[in-house]
C-alpha cells in the first residue's frame, strides 16, 4: 500500500516537472475475440501515446473497435498482443488482482449510463474507489464531500441516485472518477443519455478539469463533442485512421 502511494506521489512529482510526460502508451496492440470456431479480430495493431493534461476524443463508426480500445485502456480487458503502459507500469502481463489494483489507483471511469450503485448515497458512491484502495474512512469522507461540492452537489450528499436527475447523476459519476486522483479519466459517451442542457453542463465540467491539468480520454461519435477536445483520434476497422490536434 505504502509503496503504491509513494510511486503515485513520484508520478505527480514527475508530472509537475515535465510538461509532456507520457501517462499512457499503447504499442501495437491487437485484440481477437473467439466466438466458437470463428475468430474476429477487432483491433489490428494500434499504437498511441497519451500525454499528461491532454483532452482526447476517440471517434469512429460503431464496430470500429473504440469500445474495445476503451476497455483495454481501462484495464478491464487485455490485448491479445502488444503492450499497454499505464504510467510506468506494463499492464499487458498483469493478473486479475494487479489489474483491479491499478484500475482503483490510476483510472477514473465515467459511463454513458452513469453506473452509480443504487443502494448507496451520493457520498458513498463517490467514496467507493477510495474504499477499495483501503483509504481511512474519515479522509475518504472529507475527499468525497469536497468533490461533491466541486461538481455542484454539496446539498445532495445523502440522496440516492434515483432521487437525482440524469445530469446530477453524471456529475456524481465525475466526482467518483476524481476521488482517487487518477492518471487518466476515461469517459464513454458521457453525454449520450442527457438532454442538451445537462450535456453542456457536463462538457463544461470537462473543460474545467482539463484546465486543472487532468488527462481526459472520451469516446464519442459526435463531432460537436470532439470539437471541444484538443486531440481527435479516429478509428476505422480496428486501425487508427487519423490523429489530429486542434488546439
Amino acid at each position: 500500500m505504502s509503496m503504491q502511494t509513494l510511486s503515485m506521489g513520484n508520478d505527480r512529482l514527475v508530472q509537475a516537472v515535465v510538461a509532456r510526460q507520457t501517462v499512457a502508451s499503447v504499442q501495437d496492440i491487437t485484440k481477437t475475440y473467439h466466438m466458437g470456431e470463428l475468430a474476429v479480430q477487432v483491433l489490428h495493431g494500434i499504437s498511441l501515446d497519451f500525454y499528461h493534461g491532454d483532452y482526447i476524443s476517440i471517434m469512429g463508426p460503431s464496430g470500429c473497435g473504440k469500445s474495445t480500445l476503451m476497455n483495454i485502456l481501462g484495464c478491464l480487458d487485455q490485448p491479445t498482443s502488444g503492450r499497454y503502459f499505464l504510467g510506468d507500469k506494463d499492464t499487458s502481463q498483469m493478473n486479475d488482482n494487479e489489474l483491479s489494483a491499478i484500475r482503483g489507483a490510476r483510472l477514473g471511469f465515467i459511463f454513458q449510463s452513469y453506473n452509480l450503485i443504487p443502494q448507496l448515497t451520493v457520498l458513498e458512491n463517490i467514496e467507493l474507489p477510495l474504499f477499495y484502495q483501503g483509504h481511512p474512512a474519515e479522509e475518504s469522507r472529507h475527499i468525497a464531500t469536497e468533490l461533491a461540492a466541486r461538481v455542484g452537489l454539496g446539498d445532495r450528499l445523502e440522496h440516492r441516485p434515483f432521487e437525482l436527475s440524469g445530469g446530477q447523476q453524471q456529475r456524481v459519476a465525475i466526482a467518483r472518477a476524481l476521488s482517487n486522483d487518477p492518471l487518466i479519466i476515461l469517459a464513454d459517451e458521457p453525454t449520450g443519455n442527457l438532454d442538451s442542457k445537462s450535456g453542456a453542463e457536463i462538457l463544461n465540467l470537462f473543460d474545467e478539469l482539463h484546465q486543472q491539468g487532468k488527462t481526459l480520454i472520451m469516446v464519442t461519435h459526435s463531432d460537436e463533442l470532439a470539437e471541444r477536445s484538443q486531440r481527435q483520434i479516429r478509428l476505422r476497422d480496428g486501425r487508427v485512421e487519423s490523429d489530429e490536434r486542434s488546439h
Binding site: D96, N97, G104, N115, I117, Q119, Y132, P136, R176
Partner: protein, 451 residues
C-alpha cells in the same frame, strides 16, 4: 499463562488479529456489511421468505431438544423418586388366569404372586441387601362419619417412608411395637386427609375399614411436596389416595384371600404380598442384584406372576431415550437447515444475477475478486445469521409456551441455541460460497454491459 502468551506462534496469531483489528480493516468490513444489510433490506419480503427455512430449522432444533430434555428430566425424577438404590418386586396377575376365568360359572379360586418365602429367600441368598419392605395393597372403602373414599390400603413395614424418601406432614409412622402387636393404627395420605377430614385435624380420629376402626397417627406430605413423582410410573400403587397400616394388622384383618364378585361369578384371589421394595447397599450392584432376583423368582415360580423393576435401569433407559430423541432432533434440524441453506443459495444466485451490473461497476472501481466474494459471503452470512437469531428467539419461546399451556417440563440448555446458531451461520458460509465465487468470476466488461 504468561509463558504461553510469549510463545512465538501465539504472538504471530496476536499480530494477525491486531492487523485485522486495524481501523481500516474494520471500516471495510463494516461498510461491506452495511451494503449487505441495505440490499437485504431492499428485498424485505424476499429475504424474510429466504430466511424462513433457517428460522424454522433453528427453532425446531431448540424446542425439540428442550422438550425431550424436559421429558427425560421428568422421567428421571420419577424413577429417582422410586429410589435409585431400590429394586421393586411386584405381583402380577398372569394373563393365562385372566383369560380362563371368564367362561365357567363355578367359583374361581386363583393364587399367584410373591410369597413371604420368596422375600425371605431373596433376603437370605443375596448379599448386600440392606432392607426389604414388603407390602400388601388392598382396595377398600374407608369411612369416617358420613364420608367415605375408595382407597388403597397398604399394609407395610416401618421402613416404608424412608425407602421411598416419603415424609410425614403430621404425626408419625407406626412403630415396631405397633407392628408386632398388630395394632389398628393408620397413616393416611394427604389426599385421604383432605377427602375425609376437610375441616378438622385427622390426628387422633378413627376411620373405619370393613367394620374395624383404625386410629390415625400420621398424615403424609402431599405428593407434590414429597420427592415422589406425579404419577409413579411403573408402580402398582399409582392411586393418589393411600392409607398405610402395619403389615401384620393387614394380614390379620384381611387375610390373604380376596373374594370378589366378578362378572363370571364369585372369584377368589389369593396373593400373599403385592409388592416388596428391596434396598441394595451399593448403587453399583443394584442392576446385578435385580438380575439375581429375577433368576430366583424364575426358579421358584411356575408362571410369570411377578415383575422386577429396577428404577436405576429405568433412569438409564430414560437417558438413552433422551439421547435418541436428540439424534432424531438433530437429523430433522439437519434436513431443515440444509433446505434453508439451499434457499439461501438460490436467493444469493438470484441476487448475483440481478446485481451483475453493480459487480461490474465495483470491479471497474478497483474491487478485487476477493472483495466481491467477501461482499456476497457477508451478505449470505447476515441472511443466515439473522435467520438463526430469529430461530433462537422462537426456539426459546416455544418451550416456554408449551410449559405454560400444556404444563410440560421443558429445559432449554445453553448449548442448544449456541450450537443451532453457529450451524446456521456456517450454513450461510457454505451455501454462500458458490454464488459469491460466481459473482467474482464475472468478466467486468460483460458485467458492465449487463442491462
Amino acid at each position: 499463562m504468561n509463558e504461553a502468551i510469549k510463545h512465538p506462534a501465539v504472538l504471530a496469531v496476536f499480530q494477525r488479529i491486531k492487523l485485522h483489528l486495524q481501523p481500516v480493516y474494520w471500516t471495510r468490513f463494516r461498510k461491506t456489511a452495511e451494503v449487505g444489510i441495505k440490499s437485504i433490506h431492499a428485498h424485505g419480503l424476499r429475504s424474510l421468505l429466504t430466511v424462513l427455512g433457517i428460522v424454522i430449522g433453528v427453532a425446531a432444533v431448540i424446542s425439540m431438544l428442550a422438550v425431550s430434555e424436559g421429558a427425560s428430566f421428568e422421567a428421571q425424577q420419577q424413577f429417582r423418586a422410586l429410589g435409585s438404590n431400590n429394586i421393586i418386586v411386584k405381583s402380577v396377575k398372569p394373563a393365562s388366569l385372566e383369560a380362563s376365568g371368564g367362561n365357567n360359572m363355578r367359583p374361581q379360586s386363583i393364587s399367584y404372586g410373591l410369597t413371604y418365602e420368596d422375600i425371605l429367600t431373596i433376603q437370605q441368598t443375596i448379599p448386600g441387601i440392606s432392607n426389604v419392605i414388603p407390602s400388601r395393597i388392598i382396595k377398600k372403602d374407608v369411612r369416617h362419619l358420613g364420608r367415605d373414599i375408595s382407597t388403597d390400603v397398604v399394609g407395610t413395614t416401618i421402613d416404608y417412608p424412608i425407602s421411598r424418601n416419603y415424609s410425614l406432614r403430621a404425626g408419625r409412622f407406626f412403630s415396631e411395637e405397633e407392628m408386632l402387636a398388630q395394632r389398628n393404627v393408620a397413616v393416611i395420605s394427604d389426599e385421604v386427609a383432605r377427602a375425609l377430614f376437610p375441616m378438622t385435624d385427622p390426628l387422633g380420629e378413627s376411620i373405619r375399614i370393613d367394620g374395624n376402626y383404625y386410629n390415625i397417627i400420621g398424615v403424609m406430605e402431599p405428593e407434590a411436596y414429597s420427592n415422589l413423582g406425579r404419577s409413579q410410573a411403573g408402580s402398582s400403587n399409582a392411586a393418589p389416595t393411600r392409607i398405610f397400616i402395619p403389615l401384620s394388622a393387614a394380614r390379620y384383618r384381611f387375610g390373604e384371600t380376596l373374594v370378589r364378585q366378578a362378572s363370571s361369578g364369585v372369584e377368589m384371589e389369593t396373593v400373599e404380598l403385592h409388592e416388596a421394595i428391596i434396598q441394595v447397599q451399593d448403587q453399583e450392584q443394584v442392576e446385578a442384584v435385580g438380575q439375581i432376583i429375577e433368576q430366583i423368582l424364575e426358579r421358584r415360580h411356575r408362571r410369570v406372576d411377578y415383575a422386577v423393576e429396577v428404577p436405576l435401569a429405568l433412569i438409564r433407559q430414560a437417558e438413552e431415550s433422551a439421547l435418541r430423541d436428540q439424534i432424531v432432533a438433530g437429523a430433522i434440524a439437519g434436513i431443515s437447515l440444509l433446505v434453508g441453506g439451499i434457499g439461501i443459495m438460490n436467493i444469493m444466485l438470484a441476487s448475483v444475477t440481478e446485481r451483475t451490473r453493480e459487480i461490474g461497476i465495483r470491479r471497474a472501481l478497483g474491487a478485487r475478486k476477493k472483495d466481491i466474494v467477501q461482499q456476497f459471503l457477508i451478505e449470505a452470512v447476515i441472511l443466515s445469521g439473522v435467520g438463526g437469531l430469529i430461530g433462537v428467539v422462537i426456539g426459546i419461546l416455544i418451550p416456554v409456551i408449551i410449559s405454560i399451556f400444556w404444563g410440560m417440563t421443558t429445559i432449554v440448555t445453553v448449548t442448544a441455541p449456541l450450537l443451532a446458531f453457529s450451524i446456521s451461520a456456517l450454513i450461510g458460509v457454505v451455501f454462500g460460497i458458490y454464488p459469491s465465487i460466481s459473482a467474482a468470476n464475472m468478466d467486468p466488461v460483460e458485467a458492465l454491459r449487463h442491462a
